[in-house]
């Protein structure tokens, strides 16, 4: 059986499971559509949250980001997990106790203002729509690589599958599909990692293997890797450079994670407040299985690649073009060269491919002495690392099929979660509350389904015609979530005296200042060439990179909100009583029932 057929079987089987679940988990009421009837077991919800959270970026890109940068990109590991501590301690239990359906609904009720609710909807839509573009393009890429269809066809298939289970089942359908998708993606991620860890260190647990002895050299794996990369002029793998921006960027990812609406609403689906607390822990268990493995995948893949280009060690001869073309161990390179994501060029015509850092001035003397004329690995896309990993390690074809299904599961599960956040904000916050408050339960359910269909159509369109700023999506979504929603949710719970004027002023300040800072360096609406200042560290305010600006926006949000609320009227007594009531778990069932 050829690889294409195997991929088709794995992807087809996983899709059949998702559609089967969709038919089984149809939503009959708005409570089921928005919150899965609040009947989801906390462990199941943890699994669904993990799939919701881990996107194409976590599955495909993260290990590559770590592999080619090393220690400095630990920000992603700590940032994307540490946010769950904030969510579990500061938001999830209280928002579950509040017992409604959307994040803007909490903000509107707590700050007794439709304006606050609409501002929250604007923040939510900006965050979720930019985020969903990346998922749709990710799904399209995975389809075109593994199923050999063109990008657009891949995107239509992906949208069609999401349409079936999201429109039919709403949160209920999405939850149980995400549980299945989590299982697929974690198996796909772990199996190659275990094999590679065994090959290199003899330790079956990749997270432990990372700190074990490299069997070939008899010294620790990380020491070996550090030696090889520094010998070739690259930065030392375990060394750090800018600790200040790294800390700020990590904090931005943490606060942003805690403020992402599509993750927060997952905690509305569990039956009790106590379950929301446990469920956050389970979510992090399932996330940690991948995040503890990712740094090992990164380091080991980097070592394997170095080893393939320098089979005789860095002092010896580099790999020859002839070997790359004929040796079956190098087949994976040929496969990826075809996709345009990998490329080499024998610049000095010696028949060998020298891979080194030609930008490092210390390397130039050595390069001249050994007759090298520049780095000959001209193109290596970091995103192919996880996808090519099983081929690099010579694993059987079914593992590659599994990776294909896993990558698609990661992209689709996150897309569905985002689409639910978008559609519930439209049908529940805009239509039901602002435009047609007299709408019936059945009418709202219909509108919810229509909004979902509309959101999928929009996401598909944006996936086919990604705006120029697609690459900046992560910075934008996390920066905005950190600067707008997180502070206002936290103040709504922890400060009883925070009033509507303060919350609205705070959210708008966070939104405007963060956008202004990003636009200053990355271009107005991210259009290249419209930036006011060049995107280089010398121009940054206090040296803060635009990617790490989230905490500053959050701080300004807090300060402005406090100042404005001090100078305007206190919230009404019943709102203060509402804050009292969300602080204690007692009566969570009643809060949900009176909706």
């Amino acid at each position: 059986m050829d690889q294409f057929t195997i991929n088709l079987i794995f992807v087809g089987a996983s899709f059949a499971i998702y559609i089967g679940i969709a038919i089984w988990a149809r939503a009959g009421s708005t409570a089921e559509f928005y919150a899965a009837g609040r009947g989801v077991n906390p462990v199941m919800n943890g699994m669904a949250t993990a799939a919701d959270w881990m996107s194409a970026a976590s599955f495909i890109s993260m290990a590559g980001l770590i592999a080619f940068v090393g220690y400095n990109n630990s920000s992603f590991l700590m940032g994307w997990t540490g946010g769950y501590v904030l969510m579990a301690l500061l938001l999830a239990p209280y928002l579950r106790k509040f017992g409604k359906f959307t994040v803007p609904e909490f903000i509107g009720d707590r700050f007794y203002s439709s304006t606050a609710r609409v501002v929250a909807v604007i923040c939510l839509l900006t965050i979720s729509i930019t985020y969903v573009i990346g998922q749709m393009t990710g799904a399209g890429v995975a389809f075109s690589r593994f199923l050999e269809v063109d990008n657009a066809t891949g995107l239509f298939i992906a949208s069609g599958v999401v349409f079936i289970y999201a429109v039919l089942g709403g949160m209920k359908g999405i939850t149980y599909t995400q549980v299945a998708q989590y299982c697929v993606l974690i198996i796909a991620y772990t199996i190659p990692a275990v094999f590679i860890s065994l090959q290199l260190t003899g330790n079956p647990i990749p997270g432990l293997g990372l700190f074990s002895t490299h069997q070939e050299t008899g010294q620790p794996l990380l020491t070996t890797l550090d030696q090889i990369v520094t010998d070739l002029g690259f930065n030392q793998y375990t060394a750090g450079t800018s600790y200040f921006n790294m800390a700020l960027f990590t904090l931005s990812l943490m606060i942003g994670t805690a403020g992402l609406p599509h993750v927060i609403i997952r905690f509305f689906t569990v039956p009790r407040v106590a379950d929301a607390r446990w469920s956050a822990g389970w979510a992090l268990v399932f996330i940690a299985l991948l995040y503890l493995t990712a740094p090992a995948v990164g380091a080991m893949a980097r070592l394997n690649i170095m080893d393939q280009f320098w089979p005789n060690g860095v002092e010896g001869e580099a790999v020859s073009v002839e070997t790359i073309e004929n040796d079956p161990e190098y087949d994976w390179m040929g496969n990826w060269i075809q996709t345009g994501l990998l490329g080499f060029e024998d610049k000095n015509g010696d028949g060998l491919i020298q891979y080194y850092n030609d930008a490092n001035p210390d390397m130039q003397a050595m390069a001249a002495e050994r007759g090298w004329e520049g780095n000959e690995l001209t193109n290596f896309n970091r995103d192919i690392l996880v996808l090519a990993n099983p081929e690099i390690a010579n694993l059987p074809p079914w593992v590659i099929g599994l990776i294909a299904a896993g990558g698609l599961a990661a992209a689709l599960s996150t897309a569905a979660g985002l689409l639910l956040a978008i559609s519930s904000a439209v049908s529940h916050d805009l239509i039901k509350t602002i435009i047609r408050p007299d709408i019936s339960e059945k009418g709202e359910l219909l509108w919810a389904r229509c909004s979902m269909a509309g959101a999928i159509a929009l996401a598909t369109y944006l996936g086919l015609n990604p705006p120029g700023f697609a690459a900046q999506v992560v910075a934008l979504a996390f920066g905005l979530a950190a600067a707008t929603l997180f502070p206002v949710l936290m103040m709504g719970i922890f400060s009883k005296k925070m009033n509507s004027a303060g919350a609205i002023a705070g959210m708008l300040t966070g939104l405007i200042v963060t956008l202004a800072y990003l636009f200053t360096y990355l271009g107005i609406l991210f259009i290249p060439g419209t930036n006011l200042l060049e995107n280089v560290p010398e121009n940054y305010l206090f040296g803060i990179s635009p990617l790490a600006f989230g905490p500053v926006g959050a701080l300004l949000n807090f300060l402005v909100a406090q100042a404005v609320s001090k100078t305007s009227a206190e919230p009404p007594v019943e709102v203060q009583a509402l804050v009292e009531s969300i602080r204690i778990p007692r009566g969570a069932g009643a809060a949900a029932a009176d909706h």
Partner: protein, 99 residues
């Protein structure tokens, strides 16, 4: 946020309200301690205090590197489960748990 532990205006300081405010200040104390640990392992050991830990070797790198890539995540996990366990116990002690 000086108003965190006070009761809402207008309610008489009944036994239940006093209990609720004791519950809330206990919760804030647990959150504060947990977040200090949260910051210490990630921003502290993993990033800013790493130069101080550079002498402690760990598996081919130093302890700070381990905290940045493995240790902080494990501590985060422990913190969330500790918080869930401690709060569910606190709920019962103050009689504010769900029926």
């Amino acid at each position: 946020m000086a108003d965190q532990v006070t009761n809402s205006k207008g309610t008489s300081p009944s036994k239940a309200a006093e209990d609720d405010s004791g519950y809330w200040s206990a919760n804030l104390r647990i959150i504060t301690i947990s977040l200090i640990i949260w910051a210490l392992v990630s921003f502290g050991f993993g990033i800013l205090l790493r130069p101080l830990l550079s002498g402690i070797e760990f598996g081919g790198a130093d302890l700070g590197f381990w905290f940045a890539q493995q240790g902080s995540i494990l501590v985060f996990l422990a913190l969330i489960f500790f918080y869930a366990w401690r709060m569910n116990k606190l709920d019962r002690e103050h009689g504010v748990e769900e029926e």
